[in-house]
Amino acid sequence: MTDFSDELLIQRPRKDRAARYQPLLITLVCLAAILFQVYVPLFFQPLSFLELPLLATVYFALMKRNQLAGLTIGLLVGLVQDSLSHHPIGLFGIVKTLVGYFAASVSLRLDVDNPLVRGIVAFFFFLFHQAFFWLLSSALLEQRAALEIPRLSILALLNAAVALPLFALLDKMKGAA
């Protein structure tokens, strides 16, 4: 294994590096992300590609380094998104629960303070989120929407690009908290 990969890979799960966030801060950030998603695209349609609630879920799950905390954040964000959509409640909830759980699991093994790792994780979880949502809506609700992989890949890249400065900004909030 190279030195570079050693830097990225943590040999043993590390919970002692878990960041502390006040629950109020997490709530406000997640609420702001959801508000951004429901409000901003009304006036600036190109920004509708941004899945900020997902990025907030991934960030807090990575930083908390705790699978239960990750799945709880994902569950709550997902349920609020479900409430604001016309789908039955649970679709976003299930997908984001899994995202929160897996992101927290990843944070136990990888150095998630590294920007490269953060970008890759955001890219991967966006694709996972969209593909799993498509799978659930097709299997459970018989919705026949097309899964456009090239378009999703581009959207995942864009979301990963936004994730880097967003995560850096949220890191500063961690210091403030």
Binding site: L35, L71, S83, G90, I94
Partner: protein, 363 residues
């Protein structure tokens, strides 16, 4: 057991949470029921914040833009540019006021002229999700809005009310893939089903290949879906291709062409006639049809024959037979109905006497 649960605690909780959500989903899908409590809470939390942000934005954006323009003014022309800036600010403000007044006036005029009973609403947020085709409006159950009501603008249909909350409602746009409405083409009166596709255009499905539909032709609501009143503009045909069984008709929705800021929710819909082809509605006011042709034909005219029905003509013939034989009906036996009297020359309408017992026509 405790060791097992301690070791696999996290994965156990994950599985339990997923299982609970799957059960909730299955309950909703199977029983077509909704977990309304969660939705009401979420919408009641989100929509007032969105409303406040929208109010602040609409009042500050114009001023802030002009302020930053003025900040960049060259120092030596500061005074002139300040004046210019003020004028621009005023102009911008008045223009936006004018545009808003125009929109509101058009909406109000449409609302007044439309036979349907409507209530105006403002779009305050969109739905969650990247592919969401939902919007929230600032009118809810307190304004008399109910699920399934049609949402329109003077330019055409916009969507239908999906959920109603006390002070807000959720509207499914016509571009959503789950949306469908019955439509009819203006020129050839071809029936079809308007469906959303998840992006800017819609399709009209279930139109046989043998039917005739042309690009540029308008589709209007047919009223068959019992959501939209008949006669509202739905979309204009962009492209037509023959398919396997049904035509592939791409339609650009007219109601969404200029964005949606203010909409009307149809509280009580009234069906209207489809305007004749070539008679394009004027923008903003436009969907009232001409008076139906049947009404004008049915109106009585001074030259019209008063004997409108077969019974009237038979009665007149028998009266003529009786008069030719000097018979008075109601006295003695019946006259000989086999003898036809000589046909009388048609008298001019002005000399015609009204039947006994009827009032003379008003001048």
């Amino acid at each position: 057991m405790e060791v097992f649960l301690g070791r696999y605690r996290n994965i156990t909780v994950l599985l339990l949470v997923l299982f609970a959500q799957l059960l909730m989903l299955a309950w909703q899908v199977r029983g077509k029921q909704d977990v309304r409590l969660i939705r009401v809470w979420a919408v009641t939390v989100i929509t007032p914040i969105a409303k406040v942000i929208e109010t602040v934005r609409s009042h500050t954006v114009g001023f802030a833009q002009q302020y930053f323009v003025l900040l960049n003014a060259v120092e030596e022309n500061r005074r002139l540019k300040e004046e210019l800036g003020k004028l621009k600010l005023q102009n911008q403000f008045l223009r936006s006021e004018l545009e808003m007044a125009d929109r509101v006036r058009a909406l109000a005029a449409f609302q007044a002229r439309s036979p349907s009973k409507t209530v105006a609403a403002r779009v305050i947020a969109s739905g969650a999700g990247v592919n969401s085709k939902l919007v929230y409006i600032d009118r809810g159950a307190t304004s008399g809005i109910m699920r399934g009501m049609a949402v329109i603008t003077p330019d055409g249909i916009v969507g239908r009310v999906l959920s109603v909350f006390p002070i807000a409602s959720q509207v499914l746009l016509i571009t959503d893939p789950t949306f469908a409405a019955g439509v009819i083409s203006q020129k050839h009166r071809v029936h079809g089903t308007l469906k959303g596709q998840g992006h800017a255009t819609c399709i009209v499905d279930y139109v046989q290949n043998e039917e005739k539909v042309e690009p540029g032709e308008m589709f209007y609501t047919a009223g068959t879906d019992r959501v939209f009143p008949k006669g509202l503009p739905a979309g204009i045909v962009k492209a037509v291709r023959p398919g396997r069984v049904f035509k592939e008709i791409i339609v650009s929705p007219t109601g969404l062409q200029h964005g949606i800021e203010e909409v009307l929710v149809v509280l009580e819909g009234v069906h209207q006639q489809i305007p004749e082809a070539g008679q394009q509605p004027a923008p903003g006011f436009s969907i009232l049809p001409p008076p139906p042709a049947e009404t004008t034909q049915a109106l009585p005219t001074p030259n019209a024959n008063p004997l409108a029905t077969d019974a009237d003509r038979l009665k007149e013939r028998y009266r003529g037979i009786g008069a030719a034989q000097g018979h008075r009906f109601g006295e003695g036996g019946p006259p000989d109905f086999t003898i036809n009297p000589a046909p009388r020359p048609p008298s001019p309408p002005a000399e015609e006497k009204p039947p006994a017992g009827s009032k003379p026509p008003a001048p």
